[in-house]
């Protein structure tokens, strides 16, 4: 694998993580992380949409007129999101009910639009696909970490299995949105301490 492509694949996982470094896509990270199963499904949906939208937009990048590029991008993303939503409803109705509007809201997820604008429009299909996958995985990693903290501390379970003793009283705060903020903040703190990332403005 050429080193440039490798960078495209590795960067978003930690060094340029869409959630913890760029702080994008926070809304869904807060909303769907009460339980592991919703977080996993959301991660899969977003990664799939992101990879395919990057690929499609990259393939069309010479054909898209610059002045209406946003509209074209959104219609491509929206098509993919509707596909994902319909698939979920057909094959995982329960989870789809629990995710409510948040699958549909992938259309407005800043990560998808951001990668299309910042990467897919300027790069050939293969790197764009890799970039989409890597950013999706970076998002998924953080989502799963937040969901793990919230489900274990909030209900004492993980994927619905009881991991803490029955006597654990549960923590209502972790089940509410502020708990996700706390978990996300701690993860950002830990990651920036480990990677030595410093915000400079």
């Amino acid at each position: 694998m050429p080193s440039k492509l490798k960078r495209v694949a590795v960067d978003p996982l930690s060094e340029n993580n869409p959630i913890t470094i760029q702080v994008l896509g926070i809304c869904s990270a807060l909303a769907v992380t009460v339980k592991m199963d919703t977080a996993v499904v959301m991660s899969i949906c977003l990664t799939a949409v992101l990879a395919l939208s990057n690929l499609t937009i990259s393939l069309l990048r010479r054909a898209i007129p610059t002045r209406i590029r946003m509209i074209v991008e959104v219609s491509i993303i929206a098509t993919l999101v509707i596909l994902a939503d319909q698939l979920l409803r057909a094959f995982a109705y329960d989870i789809s009910r629990q995710l409510t509007v948040f699958v549909g809201l992938i259309i407005t997820n800043c990560i998808v639009m951001g990668r299309a604008e910042a990467f897919a429009l300027q790069n050939p299909p293969l790197p764009s696909l890799v970039d989409g996958l890597a950013n999706g995985l970076g998002y998924s990693g953080v989502l799963l970490a937040v969901a793990t903290m919230r489900e274990v501390l909030g209900s004492g379970t993980w994927f619905g299995w009881r991991v803490l003793p029955e006597a654990y009283p549960g923590n209502g705060l972790m089940l509410l949105a502020p708990g996700a903020f706390l978990a996300l903040g701690l993860i950002i703190w830990a990651q920036r301490t480990l990677s030595g990332h410093v915000e400079n403005d």
């Binding site: 009283p169 549960g170 209502g172 705060l173 509410l176 502020p178």
Partner: protein, 328 residues
């Protein structure tokens, strides 16, 4: 200018111009203020221990140890010298302990103390930087995290009281419309959080704080006045609690003198302090009468804390010497 003087070789008289204050006062140190608060809390602590015995001691000890320990730990993590000597962490912990129900499990006070020191103070940059009252941040944290552990069952009937029910007077009012007699209400012979029941003891300690000017008198005055006025209107409208009931019940007296008066998270100007107090009192009454919660002192104080910067800006006093031009 300086080079001119040097060039001429003539030494001009040195005029030191430094911004005020020029006289340092040893009387308003953090340490002295916190010592005052501890002294003023003494009547409440005595009442609490008399009422709830070891349960009260346990809540206070756990919360105080957790808060002071948390303060030391977080200061260390941030590479700062832990300022435990000024007693501010001890006061925060003690107030947190006094605000918890006597029957709460041990981890409530422990986690509340850590949250108070960490989320309430350290994340903002330590003492003097926090925008919310740390003790109330800790209490709100555990109240939302463990609603069951801080629910009605955690409120024990005090050892010396005739009442057998564990319901606080405000809960009883909300649930059954039962009106607690005034005497026990003010003396503290009712169920309630460890240190909130003794309204008279809180008043005594609070007056001491105001006289010592450790607490700004405008805050409790505004808070109690607003609560009394609204309670009067409510009782005129057919409520069964009189203003005297409302002032003596729940954490109003304790909160007005000990919690709302936190100098860090309350306004700086006299007028602002009055507005802050009045707003807190009004919110307390609003929550008591119209919300699902029986009591609202904690949330009222936290909400008004958020308004403190705004109140400060709106009540900038005119300096001696006339009005200053208004800045946009």
């Amino acid at each position: 200018m300086a080079t001119d003087v040097e060039a001429n070789g003539a030494a001009e008289p040195v005029l030191e111009v430094a911004p005020g204050p020029h006289v340092a006062s040893g009387s308003l140190t953090t340490r002295r203020m916190m010592g005052d608060v501890l002294l003023a809390l003494l009547p409440l602590v005595v009442v609490a221990v008399a009422l709830f015995r070891q349960a009260a001691l346990l809540q206070m000890a756990i919360a105080a140890v957790a808060t002071v320990g948390g303060e030391a730990l977080f200061a260390r993590w941030r590479g700062r010298r832990a300022t435990l000597g000024d007693g501010s962490a001890l006061v925060t912990g003690l107030i947190l302990g006094l605000s918890l129900p006597p029957g709460a499990p041990w981890y409530v006070g422990a986690i509340g103390g850590l949250a108070a020191a960490g989320l309430g103070k350290a994340v903002f940059g330590g003492l003097g930087q926090n925008i919310f009252n740390p003790a109330m941040v800790g209490r709100a944290f555990v109240m939302i995290a463990f609603p069951a552990a801080l629910g009605a069952e955690a409120y024990l009937a005090p050892a010396a009281a005739a009442a057998t029910t564990g319901a606080t007077p405000l809960t009883a009012l909300q649930m059954t419309g039962e009106v607690a007699p005034l005497g026990p209400l003010w003396l503290g012979l009712t169920a309630g959080s460890v240190g909130e029941t003794g309204a008279l003891a809180a008043l005594a300690g609070g007056l001491y704080l105001c006289i010592r000017r450790t607490a700004a008198w405008q805050i409790p005055t505004g808070m109690l006045l607003a609560a009394a006025v609204i309670a009067g209107l409510v009782s005129l409208a057919g409520g069964s609690f009189t203003p005297a009931h409302h002032l003596g019940a729940g954490a109003l007296m304790f909160g007005a003198f000990f919690i709302a008066t936190d100098p860090v998270s309350s306004p700086l100007t006299p007028k602002g302090r009055f507005v802050f107090g009045a707003g807190t009192g009004a919110l307390v009454m609003l929550m008591r009468t119209l919300s699902g919660y029986p009591e609202g002192v904690m949330f009222a104080i936290l909400i008004m804390n958020a308004f403190t910067p705004l109140i400060n800006r709106a009540t900038i006093p005119t300096p001696v010497g006339g009005p200053v031009p208004r800045r946009a």
